[in-house]
């Protein structure tokens, strides 16, 4: 028992888990003793029950939200990387286009979403566009920064060996940009989910049914608070899962050489 308790990895998982269990336990017991009505604030057991009852509908909603999120994320990665490549190819392109990238970034998605939802007939597509707009900027800025952050000594070496622009890009700029790119992926994956949920809210208020956000809205209309919590829990879980996947992908790609992914023992 001692060695397990002393293991860093075990403590890292067990400690937060223990805190969670205690909190949920206190929540259940406290609210049961105080007899808080379910329509005000549900107990964990109410949420579990609601999840059992509305499980299929909630999972369907989850799939809708997940699909929008992943589509938006993929589009943001593709577009963002392409735009970043354009930016580093020519200073003129970057100077003329960068302000518009910032413009897109600072405009709140809630404000543009109604417009896009009206303009684009297909709900799924319009929501994907909204989420893409939110997720795009970190990819552009991080990848651009990465492609520019070339070791000057190595850049000099490539020049001396008369390397072509393409070879310099493939052999030097892209590998060097990867740590920045993966940093962008982590931020962007979370933003894609937020963008999808926000856009769904806007669409949901307009009566167009869709994913988990609509479930929350609908549960609010009918004062089904446990279902609201169940949907909320699914959104949080999705966000955490996305983040964990990005961390794993980044570790897989960089662990062999980059400082950020090298453990303390090596």
């Amino acid at each position: 028992m001692r060695p397990l308790l002393q293991s860093e990895a075990f403590i890292r998982i067990a400690a937060p888990l223990g805190v969670g269990i205690v909190m949920v336990g206190l929540w259940e017991i406290g609210f049961r003793l105080a007899a808080v009505p379910v329509y005000l604030f549900p107990k964990p057991s109410d949420i579990v029950a609601s999840f059992m009852q509305h499980g299929p509908a909630l999972l369907r909603a989850l799939l809708v939200t997940l699909r929008i999120t992943l589509q938006a994320f993929a589009a943001a990665v593709l577009l963002g990387t392409l735009i970043a490549f354009m930016f580093v190819q020519s200073r003129a392109i970057e100077i003329s286009l960068f302000p518009y990238a910032v413009l897109l970034q600072v405009t709140p998605v809630v404000a543009i979403a109604p417009l896009i939802i009206i303009l684009v007939k297909n709900t799924q597509l319009s929501l994907t566009i909204c989420a893409t707009l939110v997720a795009l900027f970190p990819i552009i800025s991080n990848t651009t920064l990465g492609l520019r952050s070339v070791d000057p000594g190595l850049a000099n070496y490539f020049r001396m060996n008369r390397a072509s622009r393409l070879k310099t890009l493939i052999k030097l700029r892209i590998p060097g940009a990867l740590p920045y790119f993966f940093g962008g992926l982590r931020i962007s994956s979370g933003l894609a989910l937020i963008g999808a949920v926000v856009a769904e809210f806007v669409a949901g208020t307009g009566g167009r049914s869709s994913g988990l956000a609509y479930e929350i809205l609908d549960a609010g209309f009918t004062l089904d608070i446990p279902r609201m919590f169940a949907a909320l829990f699914l959104i949080t879980l999705t966000g955490v899962a996305l983040f964990a996947i990005m961390v794993a992908v980044s570790r897989l790609a960089l662990s062999s050489w980059h400082e950020s992914e090298i453990g303390a023992e090596t």
């Binding site: 190595l154 000099n156 070496y157 060996n161 008369r162 390397a163 030097l172 060097g176 400082e259």
Partner: protein, 284 residues
């Protein structure tokens, strides 16, 4: 103990622009000078001939233009006036078979994401050599610097001295005919530096690879060189030339010999002289 040698005992009084007997010149610096864009005179007109098989070291106080001269020789910068010849021809001769030059920087400048062998393969790859043709050459270059066992290691897994060895292997893999090194071991501790110097002497002796070396270290210069160019600053110029006549190949024995100590003492005195502020009327 013997008395100190007279001041010019080791000086090579001959014109250092002359053609060394029987050996073809690799680089000829013909009244080349360098004036920087801010008007500073980096190098006064310099004449220098580097012969095939020489190990030539440039040494001098900071600002004496030794790195500038090396960059001129490497064809990385152009002279403001005068010209340089490589293998008796223009710069278009550089890069052809039998006329390749390689440069080793102060830093190893390795790609952190590539293993040692991939780093060594880089110049071949940039020259369009296929992976299969490159593999034996990469293995050979790594073996020559004693890193065969570390070919699959990433730079971060290697010590500073090993990284520098990879950098040297990367220069050797192209089979250069002229090797240019700009203070390659300046950042290493003395012990590691001595070991790398031992290896460098051996590598040079194996193929008589014409080498131009820049350093701040008197001991390193004496140990490695067949000829040392002492430079002075304001403006950068050749101050004196010393020829080191010691048996080849050199080893630890040479480093411990009285002959080595005498050369070092003399070179040290010259450097002190070269570092003195110039008397009035000297600079233009």
């Amino acid at each position: 103990m013997n008395a100190l040698p007279p001041g010019d005992r080791f000086e090579d009084k001959a014109d250092h622009a002359r053609e060394p007997a029987g050996r073809a010149p690799v680089v000829e610096v013909l009244s080349a000078e360098k004036v920087f864009q801010n008007g500073a005179r980096g190098l006064a007109p310099i004449d220098l001939t580097i012969a095939d098989g020489e190990f030539l070291t440039l040494i001098g106080p900071s600002g004496c233009g030794k790195s500038t001269l090396l960059k001129l020789i490497a064809n990385l910068i152009e002279p403001s006036d005068g010209r340089l010849l490589w293998w008796r021809g223009g710069q278009d001769r550089v890069g052809q078979d039998g006329r390749r030059l390689a440069f080793v920087f102060q830093e190893p400048t390795l790609m952190p994401w590539a293993r040692a062998d991939a780093n060594v393969r880089l110049p071949l790859e940039l020259a369009g050599v296929g992976k299969r043709d490159a593999a034996p050459r990469v293995a050979d270059a790594l073996a020559r610097v004693g890193l065969s066992a570390f070919s699959r290691h990433y730079p971060r897994q290697l010590s500073g001295g090993m990284k520098m060895r990879v950098s040297i292997a990367r220069a050797l893999v192209t089979e250069p005919n002229l090797l240019l090194m700009d203070e390659p071991f300046g950042a290493l501790d003395e012990f590691t530096r001595n070991r790398l110097d031992d290896d460098l002497v051996r590598l040079w002796w194996e193929r008589r690879l014409t080498t131009v070396f820049v350093t701040h270290s008197i001991y390193e210069a004496v140990f490695l060189s067949t000829r040392i160019i002492v430079m002075a600053a304001n403006p950068g110029r050749i101050f004196r030339t010393m020829t080191i006549d010691a048996a080849q190949p050199r080893d630890v024995g040479f480093r411990d010999s009285p002959q080595f100590a005498a050369y070092c003492r003399e070179l040290s005195a010259w450097l002190a002289e070269a570092s003195l502020p110039q008397r009035t009327g000297g600079a233009a």
